[in-house]
């Protein structure tokens, strides 16, 4: 068994990492840390746990990582994560960092998006941006993977193949995304209360949400062209799930569906629907899938809808997928292609 550590194990992403590793045939969590719950048992903070893992005592994030650990998942806030990434790399431990700290080769973007200078710019070179389906080759021997944000994952998976094919008007990309509330984290804030979220809906993050820099930078890097994305996220009264509606313009729109289908025909987790059929969030619930539907509106207009589970393909699921690839394992180990219904 490969021993892994999780830093930030009691938030929603950390809990999902714990569950996924527990059902992985070759990985085992032997070190789990939490900022505010150190000293408690996992089960005291996460009632969903059971068995041995539930009885594990949570360490402090500042405790040294045991020597037998081969890989660490870091699910800490941006800014806070970088220090622990550096420590783990120093100790020759592989890292999947779920924070934003190593997602931006372009330092100015990091600074603009997060309002602070990057704490460890020298490490950026070592980082591979882990959009699994696009970056598989680079991931295979990576020591540091920057796990993508949930919104960028839902947007880049459908967008990149079309950009690469030169089909998209890259200056006219309008993305309207909708996310479940678990994306806001497990912090006790007024805006995340049941009675404030339930039976409501709102846009947020305007004029510019942090993830817009990330999706723009990687659309450019992967698509090899200048890209302008206008991105508006919305908060939806559901626990999990994310749907992005891409309002696109471009050329040869009759080729778009085949381009996407071909690109992902061998993918285990990206599913391109037949033309005109659009995915709903419950099709991917608790799976690692990204489902993509496409509707041609005219010879220059196409609407694309993509769905992910924000904590799975949008966070912990993709992190496991990336860890599998880094370690030379089958990328689907421990992950489900079939969603839970209902």
């Amino acid at each position: 068994m490969i021993q892994v550590a999780i830093l930030g194990a009691t938030g929603y992403t950390g809990a999902e990492l714990l569950r996924l590793v527990s059902q992985h045939p070759y990985m085992q969590v032997s070190h789990a840390c939490a900022h505010s719950h150190a000293g408690k048992k996992v089960n005291d903070v996460l009632p969903n746990m059971h068995g041995e893992l539930a009885q594990l005592t949570l360490a402090s994030v500042d405790d040294p990582i045991p020597e037998n650990i081969e890989l660490v998942f870091i699910a800490l806030p941006h800014g806070a994560a970088a220090k622990y990434v550096a420590r783990a790399l120093d100790a020759n431990i592989r890292v999947v960092d779920l924070s934003a700290d190593f997602r931006h080769p372009n330092l100015k973007n990091y600074q603009d998006a997060y309002g602070q200078p990057h704490p460890y710019p020298k490490l950026l070179d070592k980082s591979v941006y882990g959009l699994s389906e696009i970056a598989k080759d680079d991931l295979q021997n990576a020591h540091l993977v920057a796990n993508p944000g949930c919104y960028p994952t839902s947007v880049l998976l459908p967008l990149v193949p079309l950009l690469r094919a030169g089909l998209v008007d890259s200056q006219n990309i309008i993305i309207d995304s909708k996310s479940g509330t678990s994306g806001a984290g497990r912090g006790a804030q007024l805006g995340s209360l049941f009675c404030e979220v339930n039976e409501s809906l709102k846009a947020y993050g305007l004029p510019r949400h942090r993830h817009s820099w990330e999706m723009e930078e990687w659309a450019q890097n992967y698509g090899n062209q200048d890209v302008h994305i206008r991105f508006t996220p919305h908060l939806i009264p559901m626990t999990r799930g994310m749907l992005s509606t891409l309002h696109l313009r471009g050329n040869n729109t009759q080729l778009w569906h085949k381009t996407l289908s071909d690109y992902y025909q061998d993918s285990l987790f990206v599913k391109v629907y037949e033309h005109g059929r659009l995915p709903a969030v419950n099709a991917v619930n608790r799976s690692n899938r990204c489902d993509i539907g496409l509707q041609v509106l005219s010879d220059s207009e196409v609407t694309i809808v993509s769905c992910i589970d924000n904590l799975m393909k949008g966070a912990a699921g993709q992190a496991i997928q990336n860890a599998n690839i880094m370690l030379g394992l089958n990328e689907s180990l421990g992950l489900s292609q079939i969603a839970v219904w209902p």
Copy 2:
């Protein structure tokens, strides 16, 4: 008391009309009809009712309308409604028709949107499209009001003043709307089941939803210019409420906020927020308000968010408002400007 009739009283819109009339100081429901529940008491079908109204026996929609009725609200499906509109007008009864049957002066749009020829084209002349704030003058002596659809209401209220001011690039209008599930009606269909809607989200109605013809036609009529709208609706796991995100382009974007604020400064129900503050659906829950927020992104890009309660300002509430105007009453009688919280 003005005696009113409601045709289609047991669907979600009909139930809301019953409730609103019951709290109106000058109106009284003395005739309520339902297609499939004729002969039952109102309370047998609508457990929320109480008092005298709850004991009213539901008539058939084909029963003659009693002579003392001065105004009839028609909450029947499109196609079915037109016949009853014609009968009521023949009997010299004023009509607020909540169906789509008299919303399209342009007959071709009706046919394209609803896939059938219009059953009573001659009556179209008599109809006033009832977007209350824009059409107030025409409504004052109207005998037939075509009550707007929910999506067009949420879109046209912010859009029309800006079109009239010549600020919007009218060929580049992208609308991404999100609606609560009551908009799908009270029919027992698989897609409306709790377990299919809850914890999910989907786009629907592509390539072209019926309401896109309506909003385009009236954007043109009111805005006095050719308009192309790209409209994508989504179904949200909440009972009521609607949020439309307008991704707009245009000129002089620094003027947009003042243009909208000035336009609605005396409005009782349309509330324009300060620049950069965006409404959430729960701000308008069970009120007749339309709340509008606006964020300038650049000198050519503006995002607007508008919220309504789809059964209030999007249906029954605006119908009452229109009835008030038709009858020369204060337009806010029986309606709430304050939403329910939480």
Copy 3:
């Protein structure tokens, strides 16, 4: 217009009081206070507000109450409320106190339930426990009304008439109650987060919830017999609403339905269903009703279900009803008997 003040105007109960007074024909809020939001406008904290009231500046709870105020609603936590009750009574202002501070003539019960000695025991004499339908006579000239808790309201309304008729085995009363999440208040706590409440359900408050003392004390006072109640509350993933299931034993069970029906036959807000029909929470949503259904199981067993909106008949609605009675007004002014549907 009767000028009223609201202390604690920005919690969920306070917000409902603001809304209800705003639609009351003879009352007006001219003073609203909040602990943590003093100095802000009402609308900054409550986006649902509109019009003049939205622009009111929130005072501090410690600010003096203006001289023109005739009645004050106090929606502060227990313990904190008593001081402001005392001040208002000193200033000869009538009080409806929505906290628990003056609900217990039996001081020991207050101490046992709230874990602290009563701060103003001398004022208890002046207080009338405001279960409107039962206490109407005493309320008419009251200066201080202790507005009942939500759970006790839902339990006592069906229970008291049956106790008075000597039909209930008063030592074998088992109450299983279910409440919407707004009952937990607007505080930012982990347990009230959307992602913790949604798609879940739990019992809480065992071994003995505070409201069990209240319902037991008043079942005894009103029922004139010794009463033992075993009470278990549950938290439900809905914003509003409360359903109590009373698992009762007793005698002459064939008389129970008529006893209840007769007791409430002239009530504006308590609705007893025909035998065997049971209410759902959505029948009373946003109304001031209490709906009661009853099923005889055998000659010694009866199950009763009662439903209220916890913020209406369970808090703010009953407070308005009590204020109406205190002031000699029609008890239903400003309140709805018809619920919102859906």
Copy 4:
């Protein structure tokens, strides 16, 4: 691989069976039937599916079962299931029947609960009632397992050990259960619509729900004493999950917690909490667990709360567990002990 068939594969229970078998190391679905969707692909009816299984063509329930099938799961309505059970047994195929048809050795109970005579009384002898933890020995060589109902599972698991220990007053058992809406099935009925269920709550099934006969019969059989259960189920606005509150009386209440803890100390799926801690539904979400909490109220009163996922331990999960036991496999294969969070 053991080839299995699923009859009734497109309802909520059938969908869960498909998913669970797909992740089972030694089972494979090679025959899936549906009443109304025969001829379609699995994926046309269940968007959550992916991979080969998604492309399987649904057979008719009346098609012959292929010869290579060793075990069939029957997820058809009561009454309809029995015929297919008989056919499978004739063909020497093992059966896990998730309907109620073979749960009642006492034929009168079947008739009283389901209002019809039993169609195959002779087969009842062969049936083992599959409450896995209690019936493990009998299950090991069973050819027909009657998979328990969801409510009886949630009630019997905590109740049986206490009855066997002689601790419970078996004539005074009051059960108040709360179920998610998936328990009502995937039929398109008014009462299951999102807008009717959401933000509401109701009791149903009174005076006597079908499952009350089942839990009473098996409490007697397993507990070896006469038992009277007063059972009231409620419908909760959540997709999955079930919580039963057992309001019990008895003796030696200080022994109850240890009795339960000892009974399940080696159980993989039943988790008894420390005294006074009570489970919430989200602790068991999508797992096969039953979590049990217990609160002693006095020397004769104990409240117990048990939680299951109604489609897992309450249906498909327990069916897989039973199949594992029947086939001599580890009972936890293909099942999760860790719940999904959030």
